[in-house]
Amino acid sequence: YEGHNKDLSWISKIQVNHPAVLRRAEQIQARRTVKKEWQGRAAWLLKAVTFIDLTTLSGDDTSSNIQRLCYKAKYPIREDLLKALNMYDKGITTAAVCVYPARVCDAVKALKAAGCNIPVASVATGFPAGQTHLKTRLEEIRLAVEDGATEIDVVINRSLVLTGQWEALYDEIRQFRKACGEAHLKTILATGELGSLTNVYKASMIAMMAGSDFIKTSTGKETVNATFPVAIVMLRAIRDFFWKTGNKIGFKPAGGIRSAKDSLAWLSLVKEELGNEWLKPELFRIGASTLLSDIERQIYHHVTGRYAAYHDLPMS
C-alpha cells in the first residue's frame, strides 16, 4: 500500500474525550462477545494463535533461542492437543516471528530449516526509543530487508508528535515506506508516550496517510503499553480512514497481553468496533511472547480436563 497524499484537514478538527472513551472501554470489557460454550471458546483460542506475532526482543537473544522460537512458531500447539481438536493438518501456525534486526538472518535460516514460510518481522528505526539520526534509522530498515525480513515494525519520532509537527511526521514515515520497498510497514505509535488520546488519533491518521500497512499501539517497552481506551481511538481512526479512502489498514496491539482471557477480550474489541472483516491475520496481529504458552495451557485444560504442569508443555 503506497499511501495517500498529505491532507492535514483530516486531523485539524478532531477531538477525543478521554472520560467518555474510558467508559466505552469498560462497557466493552463487561460485555461478552465470545460464546460461552466450550467448543466455541477453543475455536476462538486457536484463532487467537493465528494472530500472534511471536516476539523476542531481549538483549540476550542468540541463535539458539531464536531457533527455538521459530520452531514454536511453526508448531505452536502440541500435536496431540491439535489432533484432539481435529485441527492437526489445518496449518495452525503463528502469523509471524518478530526479532531485532541483528537476528533476522538467524530467524530466516531457522524457519527455512523448519520448512515454514511464515514471515519474519524485524523492528527497526532505533527501536524502542527512536532517538537516533534519520540516516541510520533508514539504513537499519534497508539492512533488515536485505537480510530477508518481509515485515518491518518502525517506531515514530515522538518528539514530532509532541511538538505538533505533523507534516514532518508524515514525511518521515513516507521515507520509511520507501525504504521498506516491498516489505510490509507496521508503524508503532508508542501511545504511552504521546500524552493524550487526541494525539493518538492524529498520529494514527498521519501514519496511515503516509503508507503504513498496520498501526501498532506500542513497543512493549513503555510504562503503559496496549490498553483498551487507546485501542478504541486507533480503531476509530482506522474506520474513519477506511470511510475516506476505501483502504483497510491493520491493527496490532503489543505489550501487556499475557493471558488467553486478555487475547479474547482484544478479539472481541476488534469485532465490536470494526467487524468480522478485520479478524484475519492480514489485518490483525497481537504482539506477544508469553501469551502463546497461556493459550496452550487453556487448550490443554479444554482437551484433557486437567491443568498442565510446567514441564508438560514444550518451552518456547
Binding site: V16, N17, P19, A20, A30, R31, R32, S196, E272
Partner: protein
C-alpha cells in the same frame, strides 16, 4: 421530621434501580411505604418479602400488584400522607386533579425523554456512544431528542447509522446483547409514533440485529420531522431518537428549552466555556457534560416543567419525605362541590356600611406593577375596614387583566434580576429593610388600626426588617459540590431561580407573612407577583378553597405548588417563618455533572 405513610406508584416499565431509589430513602428517614406495581413486574413483591423477613418491623414495605385503575383508589386513602407517582404525563395530570384538596401531598416524576446536544467541538464518536446509552440500551428510560449542530450533521448521522448497525437486541440477561424489550404496550406505542412520523414526512432509519418476535423493536432514528407536527411535540418513546439540526448555541438553547419536558440533558462539547454556558442555560433537572445517563444516589435527580418536580437522590430526595418538625400534618380541606370553572370569577359586592363620616379618605391605592402604582383595569376599588368597623381606606380591585399585566412585567424583569450577582440582590433586600424601618411608625399605626396592639405591631415591623436582612445574607448561598463515588470530577448541585412566582398571602400576620414570603423569593433571584391578604377574616374559608383550586389548576402545566390549606402558620416562629423550607421552595435544583480527564 418524617412525613408518614408514602404511597408509591410505579410505571409499567421501571428499572430495579429506580424502584430502590424511591423506596430506600423513604424507609431510611422512617416512613413506611405502600407500593402499587403493575402485575407484569413482580420484582417489588420479592423485595417486600425480603423486607418482611427483617423481623421486628413487618409492614414497613407493602406491595400491591394491580392494574392502573387502582391508582386513584390508593391515592385517596385517608392514611396516606404523600403519594409519589412515577409514570406518564396524562396520568400524572389526572392524579393531580383528583388529589386537589386531599390530605396527601403529591410528588410527580413524569416522562422518560431526555435530550442530547451535540456541538461541532464535540468528540462525535463518544457522543454517538452517549446516544446509545440514552436510547438504545437498557440503561436509558426512554427516547431521546438529539440536537446536532449543522456543521457536523452529516458526520454525526453517518456514525449514528453505522453504530446502529452494530447494535444487538435480545433477552436482557444475555451478556452479549445491548438492549432488551420493554413489553407489548411500549412496542405498540413506538409503532404508532413511527407510523405517524412517517406520514408527516419524516425519514425513518432502522438497523441492528433484532429478533423479529413481537415485543422486540429495532433502534430507530427519525430525522427531518417538521417541528410543527404533533409528533415533534409529543414525548419521544423508547427506542426512538429524533434528530434535528441547529445553527448556533443560542438556537440550541431555544430549541431545547422550547418543549414542556424538563428532565435530563447532556451537552457534548470540548470547549469548557461553551459547555458550561449550555449546561447552565438548559431548563432541566440534570445536565451531564460529555456524558449521558450517569447516576448516583448522592446526586439529586429530578426535573422541572412537565417532568414533574419530585426528586430522588441527594438531599432533595430526602426532603421529599420530610417536613419541618413542629409543623402539623396536612389536613384535608376537600370540598366536593367546588366548581372549578367559576371559582374566583365572581366580584364580591360590599356596600359601604353607611354614609361616610369623617375626613374624606386618601385617594385609593393602586396596583404596584412594573415599578409604579397603576390604576386597575376595571377601575374599581374596594373599601377596607379596620377592626372597629370604620373605613380604613380603599384599595384597588385587581382583575384577570391586571394579573396578566403583572405577570408580563415580572417576566420582563426576570432575566435581569436573575442575572444579578447575589451581592446585588442582598443589597436590594437590605435597602428594603432600611426603608421599612424608616416607615416603622406609619406601618405600626396601620397595624394598630387592624386590631394589633402597639407593642406587638412594632415588634412585627422590626421582625420584618430583620427577616429581609437575614434572607439578603443568605442570597450568597448558591450550590455546592457533591462527592460522587466512581466519578473523577465534580458534580455541582446548583440552586437556580424558579422564574416568576405567584404568591397569595395569608391573612394572619399581614405584614410579616408578606415579607417572609417575599424575601426568600427575591433572594434566590425570582420575580414575584404578590396578592396581599385582604385583611378580612371572612376570607379564611375562601383561602381554604383557594388552596384546593390552586392545586387543581396547577395540573394545567404542572407548576410546583405549595398551599397551606387554610392552616394558620406561625410566622413569627423561626422554623415556620424563616426556616429552610422557605428557601427550599424558592429555588430549583439542578445537578451538573463534570467528568474530568484528558
Amino acid at each position: 421530621m418524617r412525613t408518614g405513610v408514602i404511597g408509591l406508584i410505579l410505571p409499567p416499565t421501571f428499572s430495579f434501580l429506580e424502584m430502590m431509589w424511591r423506596i430506600c430513602p423513604a424507609l431510611a428517614v422512617g416512613c413506611t411505604v405502600v407500593a402499587l406495581v403493575p402485575p407484569a413486574s413482580p420484582t417489588p413483591l420479592l423485595l417486600a418479602q425480603l423486607s418482611g423477613e427483617l423481623g421486628p418491623f413487618p409492614g414497613i414495605l407493602n406491595v400491591i400488584s394491580g392494574p392502573a385503575s387502582l391508582v386513584p383508589v390508593l391515592a385517596s386513602q385517608p392514611g396516606i400522607q404523600k403519594v409519589a407517582f412515577c409514570g406518564a404525563l396524562e396520568e400524572g395530570r389526572a392524579l393531580r386533579r383528583t388529589l386537589a384538596g386531599e390530605c396527601a401531598e403529591l410528588g410527580l416524576a413524569l416522562g422518560t425523554e431526555s435530550l442530547l446536544l451535540l456541538t461541532d467541538t464535540a468528540d462525535v464518536d463518544s457522543a454517538v456512544e452517549g446516544v446509545v446509552d440514552a436510547a438504545w440500551s437498557d440503561r436509558g428510560p426512554g427516547g431521546l431528542r438529539l440536537l446536532i449542530q449543522e456543521s457536523v450533521w452529516d458526520e454525526a448521522m453517518r456514525r449514528l447509522q453505522e453504530r446502529m448497525g452494530r447494535l444487538r437486541s435480545g433477552r436482557g440477561l444475555d451478556g452479549a446483547v445491548d438492549m432488551g424489550a420493554r413489553g407489548a404496550a411500549a412496542c405498540d406505542l413506538v409503532q404508532r409514533f413511527v407510523r405517524e412520523a412517517q406520514s408527516q414526512g419524516a425519514q425513518v432509519f432502522q438497523a441492528g440485529n433484532v429478533p423479529s418476535e413481537h415485543p422486540f423493536y429495532p433502534p430507530t432514528l427519525v430525522s427531518n420531522l417538521p417541528p410543527a407536527s404533533p409528533c415533534a411535540q409529543a414525548e419521544v418513546p423508547w427506542p426512538v431518537v429524533v434528530a434535528s439540526p441547529f445553527r448556533t448555541a443560542k438556537e440550541a438553547l431555544a430549541l431545547a428549552n422550547g418543549t414542556p419536558r424538563g428532565g435530563s440533558a447532556s451537552v457534548w462539547s470540548e470547549r469548557l466555556g461553551q459547555a458550561l454556558e449550555l449546561g447552565y442555560g438548559l431548563q432541566v433537572g440534570t445536565v451531564w457534560i460529555n456524558a449521558h445517563g450517569l447516576r448516583d444516589p448522592s446526586v439529586p435527580t429530578g426535573g422541572c416543567k412537565e417532568s414533574g418536580c419530585s426528586w430522588h437522590g441527594g438531599p432533595d430526595g430526602l426532603y421529599e419525605y420530610l417536613r419541618p418538625s413542629g409543623t402539623p400534618a396536612r389536613l384535608s380541606c376537600l370540598s366536593k362541590n367546588l366548581n372549578y370553572d367559576t371559582f374566583g370569577l365572581a366580584v364580591p359586592s360590599t356596600l359601604p356600611a353607611g354614609p361616610e363620616i369623617g375626613p374624606s379618605p386618601a385617594p385609593p391605592y393602586g396596583l404596584f406593577v412594573g415599578g409604579r402604582f397603576q390604576a386597575p383595569g376595571a377601575r374599581s376599588s374596594r373599601p377596607i375596614q379596620d377592626s372597629s368597623g370604620n373605613l380604613h381606606g380603599y384599595v384597588a380591585e385587581g382583575g384577570a387583566k391586571d394579573i396578566r399585566g403583572a405577570v408580563e412585567a415580572a417576566h420582563q424583569a426576570f432575566p435581569g434580576w436573575a442575572g444579578q450577582f447575589p451581592g446585588a440582590r442582598a443589597a436590594l433586600l437590605w435597602a428594603l429593610a432600611a426603608a421599612l424601618e424608616r416607615r416603622k411608625s406609619t406601618l405600626a399605626s396601620r397595624l394598630e388600626r387592624q386590631g394589633v396592639e402597639l407593642k406587638a405591631a412594632e415588634a412585627e415591623v422590626e421582625l420584618s426588617a430583620r427577616r429581609l436582612r437575614a434572607w439578603g445574607a443568605r442570597a450568597q448561598a448558591q450550590g455546592h459540590t457533591l462527592q460522587v463515588a466512581g466519578l473523577r470530577g465534580p458534580v455541582l448541585r446548583l440552586r437556580e431561580p424558579l422564574g416568576v412566582l405567584a404568591v397569595v398571602c395569608p391573612d394572619e400576620w399581614p405584614l410579616l407573612a408578606f415579607v417572609s414570603l417575599l424575601a426568600p423569593a427575591l433572594a434566590y433571584g425570582n420575580t414575584v407577583v404578590m396578592v396581599p391578604s385582604a385583611a378580612c377574616p371572612l376570607l379564611a374559608l375562601e383561602v381554604c378553597q383557594g388552596s384546593q383550586f390552586v392545586e387543581w389548576a396547577s395540573a394545567g402545566n404542572l407548576k410546583p405548588v405549595w398551599a397551606n390549606r387554610g392552616c394558620l402558620r406561625a410566622w413569627d416562629q423561626e422554623t415556620e417563618g424563616a426556616g429552610p423550607e422557605l428557601g427550599l421552595r424558592s429555588a430549583r435544583t439542578k445537578a451538573l455533572w463534570l467528568p474530568m480527564g484528558d
